[in-house]
Amino acid sequence: MSFSWLAIWQGLPYLLQGAGLTMIISATAMLLALALGMVVALISQLRWKAVRWLVRAYVEAFRNTPLLIQIFIVYFGLPQLGLKLSPFLSGLSALTLYTAAYNTEIFRAGLEAVPKGQHEAARSTGLSPLQEAIHVTIPQAIRISFPALGNNLVSLVKNTSLVSTIGMVELMFVANDISFNNFRTFEIYGAALVLYVILVLTVTKILNLTESRILLKGR
């Protein structure tokens, strides 16, 4: 078989749809993982030992096991316990829990990197602990965490490819689907490679622009 541009041309609309879904899934999982990661990181700042230990257990368990196995546990394993989720919900929750474990660690480091003087200054101006967290600590922690969170988002975009294994539709799934039907594996997977590069470079570019703005604003 010789190289067929036609196969790529015909597959392109479907592939682009897949790329769009990859971005939507990544954005949704990242937003959820940011919220979850922040909440868990804040909880880890509490003084109770048991809570800290639980947070640590969550973070280490999800960071030190393969995402693929986590996806399989949610999709194939949980129904055995009576919890049956669709491929979409299974994929989304596994991606979210996995990414949130990394985000927790990043936020925790960010919160701890906020200088102690900030805390003393905030309290001495009469802010309550809650006001201090919302107006002083968290904004600074987010700024400190931004580059690491950005790297995490880039990893997430690539990691979404794993949910194709449980039938969640995104770019990798679409590439499998097309090449399974027309046998143009070289062209279609090649096109998917290029699309992923475009997605990742776009996300990286946006992150870099945002980062320089955020950092400038901080000066």
């Binding site: 693929l68 196995i69 990798m172 279609i188 090649g190 590069v197």
Partner: protein
């Protein structure tokens, strides 16, 4: 939960674990050698080599490993390059390891102040001697924590080889589940085994990082 299923099938899962460790070791060895070479190529005086390596590294790092594996295993045969499952998976993962190690090496070398190079060159050392005796020995300490981190990611990512049918821990778990239908227990045990492989390395990376911060 059915513990007897776990106990009965543990030996099979452990056979898969041995394969996972073997694949990881092979990939880490191949990928690291290639990666150190590629990382050093970023500092040679030839622009073509520098940019070529930079492009390859960027490209590999921008694509999902799963797609790389599929491209090599399903895509290349369409243009006449047939590679069996095991070498295909090892090749794809080694390329991944190479690209990421190259970035670690580049970052480590660039973190060494320029004055070191200038001082070394002014004492009469050649470019290669400077790299070998002055820059690299200092940079390697800074490379260590991210490199160990890479190894833990790689060990977890060897699970992707199961999707094209390579026998390792995840594949062993899948085959066990096909026989026993106890997916929850078996995947949980597989996860626990991966944890035992990955966590000690994570701790090592953390310690190396902490030691570096204290200096």
């Amino acid at each position: 939960m059915n513990l007897s299923v776990v106990v009965e099938n543990l030996p099979y899962l452990l056979r898969g674990t041995v394969s996972t460790v073997e694949i990881s070791a092979a990939v880490i060895l191949l990928g690291t050698l290639a990666g150190v070479l590629a990382g050093l190529l970023r500092f040679v005086p030839w622009v073509a080599a520098r940019t070529g390596v930079a492009w390859i590294v960027e490209f590999i790092r921008a694509v999902p490993l799963l797609l790389q594996i599929f491209f090599i295993f399903f895509g290349l045969p369409a243009i006449g390059v047939k590679i069996p499952t095991f070498p295909a998976a090892v090749l794809a993962m080694s390329l991944w390891m190479m690209a990421n190690t190259a970035e670690v090496v580049r970052g480590g070398i660039q973190s060494i102040p320029r004055g070191q190079t200038e001082a070394a060159r002014s004492t009469g050392l050649s470019g290669i001697q400077t790299m070998r005796h002055v820059i690299f020995p200092q940079a390697i300490r800074r490379m260590l924590p991210p490199f160990v981190g890479l190894c833990t990611i790689l060990i977890k990512d060897t699970s992707l080889a199961a999707i094209i049918g390579v026998f390792e821990l995840t594949r062993a778990a899948q085959e066990t589940i096909e026989r026993t239908f106890r997916s929850f227990e078996i995947y949980l045990v597989a996860a626990a085994i991966y944890f035992c492989l990955s966590y000690p390395l994570s701790l090592l990376a953390e310690q190396a990082e902490a030691r570096l911060q204290r200096q």
